[in-house]
C-alpha cells in the first residue's frame, strides 16, 4: 500500500500541478477559449457532451479491440510461420522490415478506394500497425531461449514439436507481451486515423467535426479519451501477462 503510494504520488502531484498551472495561465492571460480552453472549460465540455461521446467512444473501442485482436493474431501467426520455416524467414523478413517505412497514413486513402467506407479499411489500418511489433518481438523471443536448454532437450530426444511447445514458445512469451504492449497503444492511434479518413462514427470522426467548428475544448476532451482508451487496452495486456506469465516472472528475468 505504502509502496504503491510512494510510486504513484509523485506523478499524480505533477499532473495536478500541470493542470493548475494551465488553469492559472488561461485565467491570467485572458487567452481566447476557442484557442486554448481552460481545464474548467474542458471539464464542462466533457460533461455536456457525455451522451454523444458515449456512443462515439463505444464505436471506437469496438473497432480498436477488433483490430488489435486481429492484428495480434496475424502477428503471432507470421512469427510462428517465419520461425518454423527458415526459408520463408529469409525471403520475407527483410521485406517486412522495409514495409514499415511506408507511412500508414499514405496507404489509408488507397484502402478506402479499394474497400469502401465500411469497417474493412479501418480494420486493415489497425492490423497493419499492430501486427508488426507483435511479429518482430515474438520472432525474436522464439530465437532467444537459452541454447543450453535447447541442447538438453534435443539430447533427451525432443522432436521439433516438443522443442517448440515445451521450450521455444514459453521462452518467447515475455518478448511477445512486449510486442503486444506496443501494439496496444498503436491500435488506438490506428483506429483514430482510420476514422479520420472515412467513417460516420467514432472518436476520430468526432474530432474532425469539432475541428471544423473550432471547438478546442471538445478536441481536448477527445484527446483525453484517446489516451484513456490506449491506457485501458495496455492495461488489459498487462493483466493478461500477469495471468499467463504469473509467478515465475521474476525467475525469467533472473535467467535472462
Amino acid at each position: 500500500m505504502t509502496d504503491a503510494l510512494r510510486r504513484w504520488a509523485p506523478p499524480a502531484v505533477t499532473v495536478v500541478a500541470l493542470i493548475a498551472a494551465w488553469q492559472l495561465y488561461t485565467t491570467i492571460s485572458g487567452i481566447e477559449s476557442w484557442l486554448l480552453p481552460s481545464p474548467r472549460d474542458v471539464f464542462a465540455a466533457a460533461s455536456e457532451q457525455r451522451t454523444v461521446l458515449g456512443e462515439q467512444v463505444a464505436a471506437t473501442a469496438r473497432l480498436t479491440l477488433l483490430g488489435f485482436t486481429a492484428g495480434a493474431a496475424i502477428g503471432l501467426l507470421v512469427a510462428v510461420a517465419l520461425h518454423l520455416v527458415p526459408v520463408l524467414r529469409a525471403a520475407v523478413y527483410p521485406l517486412l522490415v522495409v514495409s514499415q517505412n511506408i507511412p500508414i497514413i499514405a496507404i489509408a486513402p488507397l484502402l478506402v478506394v479499394w474497400l469502401g467506407f465500411g469497417i474493412a479499411p479501418k480494420l486493415v489500418v489497425i492490423v497493419l500497425v499492430c501486427f508488426f511489433p507483435v511479429a518482430v518481438a515474438t520472432l525474436d523471443g522464439l530465437r532467444r531461449g537459452d541454447p543450453v536448454i535447447a541442447d538438453y532437450l534435443l539430447m533427451s530426444g525432443a522432436n521439433r514439436r516438443q522443442l517448440f511447445t515445451t521450450f521455444q514458445w514459453p521462452s518467447a512469451l515475455p518478448a511477445m507481451f512486449s510486442g503486444l504492449k506496443i501494439a496496444a497503444t498503436y491500435s488506438v492511434f490506428g483506429a483514430v486515423i482510420s476514422e479520420w479518413i472515412g467513417g460516420d462514427q467514432g472518436i476520430g470522426r468526432y474530432m474532425i467535426v469539432q475541428k471544423s467548428a473550432f471547438r478546442a475544448d471538445r478536441l481536448f476532451v477527445a484527446i483525453a479519451i484517446v489516451v484513456a482508451l490506449a491506457l485501458l487496452i495496455f492495461g488489459l495486456v498487462v493483466l493478461l501477462e500477469r495471468i499467463t506469465v504469473g509467478r515465475h516472472a521474476v525467475g525469467r528475468r533472473d535467467n535472462g
Partner: protein
Amino acid sequence: MAEQAADPVLDITDLTHRYGDLQVLAGVTLRVQRGEFVSIVGPSGSGKSTLFHLIGGLVTAESGTIALAGEPVAGRRGLVGYMPQQPALLPWRTIEENVVLARDIAGAPRRASRELARQWLDRVGLGRFARSYPHELSGGMQQRAAFLRALICDHDLICLDEPFSALDAMLRTEMHRWLLDLWEAERRSILFVTHSIEEALLLSDTVYVLTRRPATVAERVEVPFPRPRRDEVVDDPEFVRIRRRLTDLLRNETS
C-alpha cells in the same frame, strides 16, 4: 568393480570426428561397464563436449561406432540421461515438473513420473521445494534437481558434462559427497566429463585421460580405492601419486 563383468553399457570404438577442417576426435575408444562410474579428463577444448554430442545423437561421427547396450546408436537421440554444465532447468516449470521433463518428452505416463519425482525429491531432501521454481533454489539445489532429471529417465547410461565446474570449492566438495552417496547406493552407469583430475579420481572406477585436440585416449586408469569411498581418500599416498602422474601427463598435453 570395473572389469568383473563384460557387459558394456556404452562401447565406443575408434571414434573420429571433425568440424570442417578442425579434427576434434582421432580414434577414441572407451567403454562403460554396467554399474561403472567412468570419468573423462582432458585439457579444455579437447573435444569432451563433442564426445557427448556424438553419444547424445546431436551430431553423427565421421567414422567409428557408438553402441549402447550392444546396439549401434549413431545419430539417435533420447537414449541417455544427460546433465549439462549449467542446470538448464526451465524457469517456468516447478522443480517437480522440471525433474520429469525427460520422461515427459519420452512419453512416459505423467502421473507415474510425478510420483517417482516426488519420491526422489524427498529422498535427496528437496521434497519441500517440489512446487518451487528454479530461481527460488540455490545453485547446488538446482544441480541436484538437474541430476535427478537425468537419473529418473531410466536410461542405462547417465552422461554428466562438467556438472560442478560452475560451483565454488565448498559447494563442489559437498556435491561430490552427495553424488558419491547416491551413486554408491544406486550403482548406475555414469560417464562423467571433468577437467579436474582430483574430482575424477575421487568419484570414478575408471578414468580416461584424453590428449589435446585431436583427442585420443592418452591413458586409462583403474582407480584402486574401495567403495564406499571416504573423503579422506584424497590424502592417501597412492591417490596423491596417481594424481601427480596424471597432472604431469595433462601438463605435457597442454604445453
